[in-house]
């Protein structure tokens, strides 16, 4: 009797194990079901490379290039800010800070990660945007730069924790060997430890990028949502994520606009899938 019960329990556990694969497939399916329906109306090229996003025009235009580039600019800006800060912070926590400070800093970084994006968007809207506006004498503070700044602080915790893990994982023998040969601590860090942790660091950066590209609420409140092809970081842009969140309300289910928004979702899913896949490969290679 017990054996039968055990058998069932173990089968359930087995099924659960595969649940995650099922969910990923489901997500892909539901995105594709409605997203690919768009291509009965327009070609893939017009969608991916079209420069005008005007869903309310007659005929509607669904070119996502300005949206894609908008996401790209904001992400790039955030990455450029986040990577140096994140690395510096990770190195400091992992190698330099005394034990008591380490725990405090790690807790602080975790709390930064915990702040909901809507709060960051809210604070950014009320405090950051006027600062950017006045600092650069812009007509408006709702720019790609504002978005990048806010998003950088959302990406940093992800990057710091993974980088810090990688740095701690470097075998002590590397470090001790280097110090024994007469190198200073700092020289050891940038010549030995960082290169040894490099694949983990790269994975961290990629996961941070993935987090930033997928961010919705903060960018919607901070970047001005103008669907222009971005020429400078000091001007408003429109990201793919904000477009979906902002426009879903207007669409009738089953309309072309509805399909187009799902198609954007598909693109987003594809991008983050790729990033996560590569990052995971990088981490796994290092483990060997």
């Amino acid at each position: 009797m017990r054996k039968i019960r055990e058998f069932f329990i173990e089968k359930i556990i087995l099924l659960n194990g595969f649940a995650c694969i099922l969910f990923v497939i489901l997500i892909f399916y539901f995105l594709a079901k409605d997203g690919l329906a768009l291509f009965k109306f327009i070609t893939i090229q017009d969608f991916l490379f079209g420069t005008l996003w005007n869903p309310l025009a007659e005929p509607p235009q669904f070119g996502i290039l300005p949206l894609f580039l908008g996401s790209l600019v904001v992400t790039l800006g955030a990455t450029i800010i986040a990577v140096p800060l994140g690395m510096a912070c990770a190195i400091f926590i992992g190698e330099i800070a005394p034990r008591w400070m380490r725990e405090v800093l790690k807790a602080g970084v975790e709390l930064l990660a915990a702040i909901p994006s809507i709060v960051i968007g809210f604070i950014g809207m009320t405090m950051l945007s006027p600062i950017v506006k006045n600092l650069f004498h812009l007509p408006t503070g709702l720019t790609a730069l504002t978005g990048s700044l806010a998003l950088a602080f959302m990406a940093i915790p992800t990057m710091v924790s993974i980088m810090e893990d990688s740095i701690s994982a470097v075998p002590r023998s590397y470090k001790e060997g280097s110090l024994a040969l007469g190198a200073t601590h700092w020289q050891t860090i940038y010549r030995v430890i960082i290169p040894a942790a490099s694949s983990g660091i790269i994975a961290a950066i990629m996961l941070g990028i993935g987090r930033v590209i997928g961010e919705t609420m903060a960018v919607m409140m901070l970047t001005g949502n103008a669907s222009v092809l971005p020429k400078t970081i000091l001007a408003p842009v429109r990201t793919m994520t904000a477009t979906v969140a902002a426009e879903m309300g207007e669409t009738v289910r089953g309309s072309e606009h509805y399909f187009a928004l799902f198609a954007i979702g598909l693109v987003l899913f594809g991008i983050t899938f790729l990033i996560n896949f590569v990052a995971d490969m990088a981490r796994h290679r290092k483990k060997k």
């Binding site: 017990r2 055990e6 173990e10 556990i13 087995l14 659960n16 194990g17 595969f18 649940a19 995650c20 694969i21 969910f23 990923v24 489901l26 997500i27 995105l31 409605d34 140096p84 800060l85 510096a88 912070c89 400091f92 330099i96 807790a107 602080g108 970084v109 975790e110 709390l111 930064l112 915990a114 702040i115 909901p116 994006s117 809507i118 709060v119 960051i120 809210f122 604070i123 809207m125 009320t126 200073t184 700092w186 020289q187 996961l207 590209i213 997928g214 961010e215 919705t216 609420m217 409140m221 969140a245 879903m248 928004l261 979702g265 899913f269 983050t272 990033i275 996560n276 896949f277 995971d280």
Partner: protein
């Protein structure tokens, strides 16, 4: 002029320290701003009353209750699912291609943008299963979002239980599942708990997934069933800061403060529990 390596090190370390401070400062700053501007609005009425006057006055009770319902619903689904998956990965899975696929799937679920989860929730739960815009749809969507966090932390918790425990149990003739149930799980429970708390804190703050699946602008009464819509704190903050005209800033900051306060509290509890586990470890 050649700078001595020692000097270079000093400079480098100072810069790095500054960077670390630069990262932590916003946390303190945000908290300070929220407290300074939001605390005046927070009193017992604010937390327990329904909104009035077009939400420009009164309280945010329905939003708090709504978030509470969503969070409980989400963890109720994600916890069993996640722990069982972790048990599979740690105790049963062999190192083959399938397992690798599962791990990739988990990493991907963790990386899917929140608005894409919203679309998914809309397509699957709201439309396909016909739950409509409801607490059920919202909780299920949030549950899938939470899953990777639960799985990862449960995995770590399970793996930290020493092999010797399992081996001793099996040597005594206890079956595999019973070993897991009575030996491994209880020891891994604190770690699993930490992971759940972190998962909850994440779900409580999400806006995009609930935009299309459950969020209501205004509900006069608390939801009566899980097929009802509900208000939620993050969406309420969004509404107060962008949709309602002439709201007293204190109300907006107060709502933000309640949300952040809730999230920070959960996180601090998790951090403390984790530190407690680490110090109490008998192995």
């Amino acid at each position: 002029m050649k700078i001595k390596p020692q000097m270079k090190q000093k400079i480098a370390f100072i810069l790095l320290g500054l960077a670390a401070i630069l990262v932590i400062v916003p946390v303190v700053l945000i908290l300070a701003i929220l407290i300074k501007r939001g605390l005046p609005a927070i009193n017992w009425q604010f937390l327990t009353e329904m909104p009035r006057m077009g939400m420009r006055a009164g309280g945010i009770f329905p939003a708090i209750m709504g978030t509470f319902c969503l969070v409980i619903g989400a963890i109720g689904v994600a916890l069993p699912l996640g722990v069982l998956t972790a048990i599979y990965l740690v105790e049963y899975a062999k190192k083959n291609w399938w397992t690798r696929m599962i791990e990739i799937a988990i990493v991907n679920l963790a990386g899917v943008p929140s608005v894409v989860y919203g679309l998914f929730g809309l397509g699957l739960f709201v439309i396909f299963f016909q739950f409509g815009s409801s607490i059920l749809a919202g909780s299920l969507t949030l549950a899938i979002m939470e899953l990777p966090v639960i799985i990862t932390s449960s995995k770590e918790a399970l793996m930290s239980v020493p092999r010797s425990f399992r081996e001793a149990s099996l040597a005594l003739g206890v079956s595999k599942w019973q070993t897991i149930r009575y030996v491994v799980l209880p020891n891994a429970l604190p770690g699993i708990l930490t992971g759940s708390i972190l998962g909850i804190s994440r779900t409580a703050g999400e806006t995009a997934p609930i935009l299309f699946t459950v969020a209501a602008f205004y509900l006069p009464r608390l939801p009566k069933s899980i097929l009802d819509q509900c208000m939620a704190l993050p969406y309420h903050l969004y509404v107060l800061s962008t949709q309602v005209p002439n709201v007293k800033p204190a109300l907006q900051y107060g709502t933000a403060l309640v949300l952040v306060g809730m999230v920070f509290l959960l996180n601090i509890v998790a951090i403390i529990v984790r530190a407690h586990i680490r110090s109490k470890k008998q192995w």
